[in-house]
Amino acid sequence: MISIQNVSKHYGTFQVLTDCSTEVNKGEVIVVCGPSGSGKSTLIKCVNGLEPFQSGTITVDGVSVGDPKTNLSKLRSRVGMVFQHFELFPHMSITDNLTIAQVKVLGRSKDEATDKGLKLLDRVGLKAHAAKFPGQLSGGQQQRVAIARALAMDPICMLFDEPTSALDPEMINEVLDVMVELAQEGMTMMCVTHEMGFARKVANRIVFMDQGQIVEDDAKDAFFGNPRSERARQFLAKILTH
């Protein structure tokens, strides 16, 4: 579904990504982790073309992201993305947040979009808040709306960039529960997260990044059981003691 081949990226002379390669097959859940500044966000943003990269190829469902002829908007409309800071549109009601892209991008009718949006809102347990505005919801609620907004586009896969790291601890689980459910339904997911409980529960593979390189790309059990690199061992020791 997502194929990343030898991707490198630099800002001026600063190398952010060096020769990164990995795959996410249909129905798989990949967790990407690593220390701050290791390039996780950059890598995941390359997948839907939010960040350009200088060499290598990324294909999503057979479409090359780096190809200048690719209609990036169209590709992005099929790839859901969830951000650390939710990024709901503050001037729109929750319902409008859920429907606007369905109407403006996919060309669905207002009624059809509302129907779909409210169904998904119900699914993330927030049906009662349809008429509110993002600023009137808690962080955890906003993030669940953001997930529903992405799902409303019927994405072929979902990208998550630290979806819980801006949340208060008591709100993390309500978001993770939604993500676990999504994973169990067979959604293809690439998640940047340090929630190792989530990784243990649903991930197929763990990608560990350090200084712009993919240091480990292991099946879950191998990663937690016996990570090969010293860096990954140290990293795990650090976050698991928290």
Binding site: L50, F83, H85, I100, K132, P134
Partner: protein, 246 residues
């Protein structure tokens, strides 16, 4: 003080006899309002476009927009007015300059030059506000719009600009007030707007205090109305749960 107050001058007829001084004053007010409003609408349109271009990823476009802003912001308003009115008609190609001078009435020439001058001057300042508004939004908003499949123009239209404009209502209000005040400069090319009519009144009636008090009050009324309107706009556009609103 030996000054003879005489408030009845506004009702007395002008030397040519066809109307009163009050009507002169009101026609000046009308010109000021028409001039400033039309210039403001054009400035908003041009300024929004330029402000947006300053924030797009394309380097040539944003450079072009910066050059536009620097050009119209850094030349004194009075100089710009003289260029629009005296210089431009002489150098416009394809007979446009001659058409301007020969086919338009002097009044229309003055009004058009003044309007374009105020509009372009103010648009550069509006552009700066629009750019600041867009840049004040969280960076993730643009990414979120694009990630949903919006094109860049759609992202501006539906995501960035609605919030950016809400943020900049206060500075835009003062730009709008400025355009009314700046319009007084246009009396220098002979346009009979409010300030020019005021001066004319002084010349004809020799009652400077009454005349200046009258035009001061009229400018004050304009100010109050503009601020009132902008406050209504602000209240209408308030976002629930955002920035101190409830």
């Amino acid at each position: 003080m030996g000054y003879q107050w005489n408030w009845s001058i506004f009702g007395s007829t002008v030397p040519t006899g066809e109307t009163t001084y009050l009507v002169w004053l009101l026609s000046g007010l009308q010109t000021t309002i028409l001039l400033s409003l039309s210039a403001w609408l054009l400035a908003l349109a041009l300024g929004s476009l330029t402000g947006v271009l300053r924030t797009v990823p394309s380097k040539p476009l944003s450079t072009l927009a910066s050059a536009y802003v620097e050009l119209f912001r850094n030349i004194p308003l009075l100089v710009q007015l003289f260029i629009w009115y005296f210089v431009l008609p002489e150098i416009l190609p394809f007979g446009l300059g001659d058409a301007f001078k020969q086919q338009l009435s002097p009044l229309t020439q003055q009004f058009l030059s003044a309007m374009l001058c105020l509009a372009f001057f103010t648009s550069a300042r509006v552009a700066e506000q629009v750019r600041a508004g867009i840049n004040a939004l969280p960076r993730g908003q643009r990414a979120a719009g694009l990630a949903l499949g919006f094109t860049l123009p759609q992202t501006y239209r539906h995501v960035l600009l609605p919030m950016a404009f809400r943020l900049i209502v206060p500075p835009l209000t003062s730009e709008c007030l400025n355009i009314f005040k700046n319009s007084a400069v246009c009396s220098t090319i002979g346009l009979l707007e409010l300030a020019a009519q005021g001066r004319q009144l002084v010349d004809y009636t020799a009652q400077p205090y009454e005349s200046f008090i009258a035009i001061t009050l009229l400018y004050l009324v304009i100010n109050v109305v503009v601020m009132g309107l902008m406050r209504i706009v602000e209240a209408r556009a308030r976002v629930p749960g955002y920035l101190g609103s409830k």
